[in-house]
């Protein structure tokens, strides 16, 4: 089948390479609207099937396309979908921006059914929701509050991320509420300028109504290893681990995400989990 990638930022370019590697696609087309951008120059240098004709170019090439990946920004996504919505009835649209368009999908959770318009939430969402969901299922009403702090390397945060921090937080929280049904949550993000850059690291805090029991802790440990092994299928260096509890009413789980190192450096696990999830999903779509 054929696909179109919109956007030549860090995500778009990495997606192109992962699509090439997946061997699912006969033709991959990548579009943006500024042929002088860094990403466009990279596409030309690497001899990608690239065009700067923007959304009009995309529309002209929709005919034999099965999947459209949107790797632009939250604001552009709204504009793009306005233009495309009526033209893509028998196609799949995978939204990698933090806008709220589309149905939320986490490959770990929704494996068999892919909505026509998919929202991949955010890197923090892709990383943490499988864990939050399992812990919620085990603790039930004993779970009072969940907090997620994602730490990403400054070099992995492009312009779209920096301009869209509010959309990032809002969309991540909305998705956590919708998928896990935990209502009291808080999402925060930190950009770390350290050199050498740090790997993407997430801290999850689960506040309980009473001290955590040994049985629950054991169940959670088991489900963490299940999550690790299943996510490792598409994200080989995803690693969630429990911290020995200091406060008995607070459970802490950290998740480190190291990327494949295709076009992105391995520390940019935050971007890599988005492109890896997108390509992993496309494996279950056929012509």
């Amino acid at each position: 089948m054929n696909c179109i990638i919109i956007g030549t930022g860090k995500i778009g370019v990495d997606l192109y390479i992962k699509c090439l590697k997946s061997k699912n696609f006969k033709r991959i087309f990548i579009f943006n609207q500024d042929k002088n951008s860094e990403g466009a120059k990279y596409c030309l240098k690497k001899k990608f099937n690239y065009s700067s004709k923007g959304i009009e170019g995309v529309i002209k090439n929709l005919k034999d396309t099965k999947i459209i990946f949107d790797a632009t920004s939250a604001k552009s996504n709204i504009f793009i979908l306005k233009k495309l919505r009526k033209l893509i009835n028998n196609k799949y649209f995978i939204n990698l921006t933090p806008s709220i368009n589309g149905e939320y999908v986490i490959p770990y959770i929704n494996t068999n059914k892919i909505p026509q318009i998919t929202n991949l939430i955010t890197c923090g969402g892709q990383t943490s929701i499988p864990v939050i969901n399992e812990v919620k299922n085990i603790l039930g009403p004993k779970l009072k509050y969940v907090e997620l702090v994602s730490n990403i390397a400054a070099k992995s945060a492009g312009k779209a991320t920096r301009d869209n921090i509010d959309e990032y937080i809002t969309n991540t929280e909305r998705a956590i509420r919708k998928i896990t049904k935990v209502n009291k949550i808080k999402v925060m993000i930190n950009i770390n300028p350290a050199e050498p850059p740090v790997n993407m690291m997430n801290s999850l805090f689960f506040e309980l109504t009473k001290d955590i029991s040994k049985e629950d802790l054991k169940k959670i440990k088991n489900s963490i290893s299940k999550i690790n092994s299943r996510i490792k299928i598409y994200m080989p260096k995803y690693n969630a681990s429990i911290f020995e509890t200091i406060e008995k009413k607070i459970l802490r789980i950290s998740i480190e995400v190291i990327g494949h190192g295709d076009s992105l450096p391995t520390y940019a696990g935050n971007l890599d989990i988005m492109t890896s999830s997108a390509v992993h999903l496309s494996n279950s779509i056929h012509d």
Partner: protein, 342 residues
């Protein structure tokens, strides 16, 4: 000697929250605001130590909500302006709207200086709402280098339409010579109001502030008795006195200020967290030397105590990790690894 107009901005009720694990109560806010106004303080900043929306398990839960804190201060203040600190990533646009509704006058939007472009959407929002917005370069030492990266960050803010910029020495690492160089160079290139926010790890906060003012800072942040993160802030009572000695008019009533300084610790008597005068302990000196965020001190204390680790060893471990303000959640990871190695 000094000709610039000087405005002292009192950050006691915001940065001071770091010193008492964000437990400043509604009563303390009320009493403090009333007394500070009598001393003729012009700007009062209120909130969680890390600003708007930052109350959390990872950084520390506030005793009261932002809304309660801000409405209490608003009610107590008749003349003084009410200001807030906001870090995108902790706070969001809806928090800013709430603060507007509470009657906040000054919106100080800040991030670690290297990532200043993340203030974009919040500054745009404030401009749209026509509220007074300032830019804050936190951890400013991260962009103080031979390439003068701070000038690029200032330009970014100026281009966004920000008219007042605070240079924040979050780590307490700057010396008077650094301050002179930074302010001179910014003044040469930009027509913008400048301010300085000091921390006292090296015992230089007051003098850094005097130098900042001499070389162009119109606004100086300070807190009563230096009450603030880590080794504390520029001590307001000393600063106001020294400025008076230098013939710099601040209009602050010194007698009122001294009474406030004397009575301030008693505000905390009923509080769970014991009031402690900020003091530069060896760990604070080391923290500054590593260029770490002053606010880490209380977290490092808490976890090194729980894990039975030496606090100096603990600071060394997080110093190596190069954590920046906001990464309180990773302190425990670093200390766990340290514990494992033992």
């Amino acid at each position: 000697m000094i000709k610039n107009k000087l405005i002292i901005s009192d950050v006691t009720l915001r940065d001071g929250n770091h010193a008492v694990n964000h437990s400043i109560s509604r009563e303390i806010i009320k009493k403090y605001c009333e007394e500070a106004e009598k001393a003729n303080i012009k700007i009062i900043e209120v909130g969680h130590g890390n600003g708007l929306g930052a109350s959390s398990l990872s950084i520390g839960k506030s005793l009261i909500t932002d809304k309660v804190a801000l409405t209490t201060a608003r009610k107590a203040l008749k003349k003084a302006k009410l200001s807030i600190h906001s870090i995108p990533g902790f706070s969001r646009i809806t928090d800013l709207q709430k603060a507007i509704d509470c009657g906040v006058d000054i919106f100080r939007i800040g991030t670690n200086s290297t990532e200043i472009d993340t203030v974009y959407s919040q500054v745009k929002f404030c401009n749209k709402k026509k509220v007074e917005v300032w830019g804050v370069l936190m951890m400013a030492h991260l962009v103080y280098n031979k390439k003068k990266d701070y000038l690029k960050k200032i330009k970014y803010l100026v281009d966004l339409g920000v008219k007042t910029i605070i240079i924040m020495d979050s780590a307490g690492i700057f010396l008077p010579g650094d301050i002179k160089e930074i302010f001179t160079n910014i003044k040469k290139k930009f027509k913008v109001n400048l301010g300085f926010h000091g921390h006292n790890n090296f015992g230089t906060a007051v003098w850094n502030s005097v130098i900042a003012h001499k070389y162009g800072a119109k606004i100086i942040d300070a807190s009563i008795k230096g009450f603030g993160a880590g080794a504390g802030n520029t001590q307001l009572d000393i600063l106001a006195t020294v400025m008076a000695r230098l013939n710099m008019k601040t209009n602050i009533n010194l007698n009122r200020l001294y009474s406030l300084a004397k009575v301030f610790p008693t505000y905390f008597k009923k509080n769970v967290i014991k009031y402690k005068n900020p003091y530069s302990e060896p760990k604070n000196i080391m923290s500054a030397n590593y260029g770490l965020f002053s606010g880490f001190a209380s977290k490092v204390d808490y976890y090194s105590d729980k894990l039975n680790l030496d606090d100096i060893e603990a600071f060394k471990a997080i110093g190596k990790k190069k954590l920046v303000a906001g990464q309180e959640d990773l302190i425990i990871n670093a200390l766990y690894n340290l514990k494992k190695k033992k």
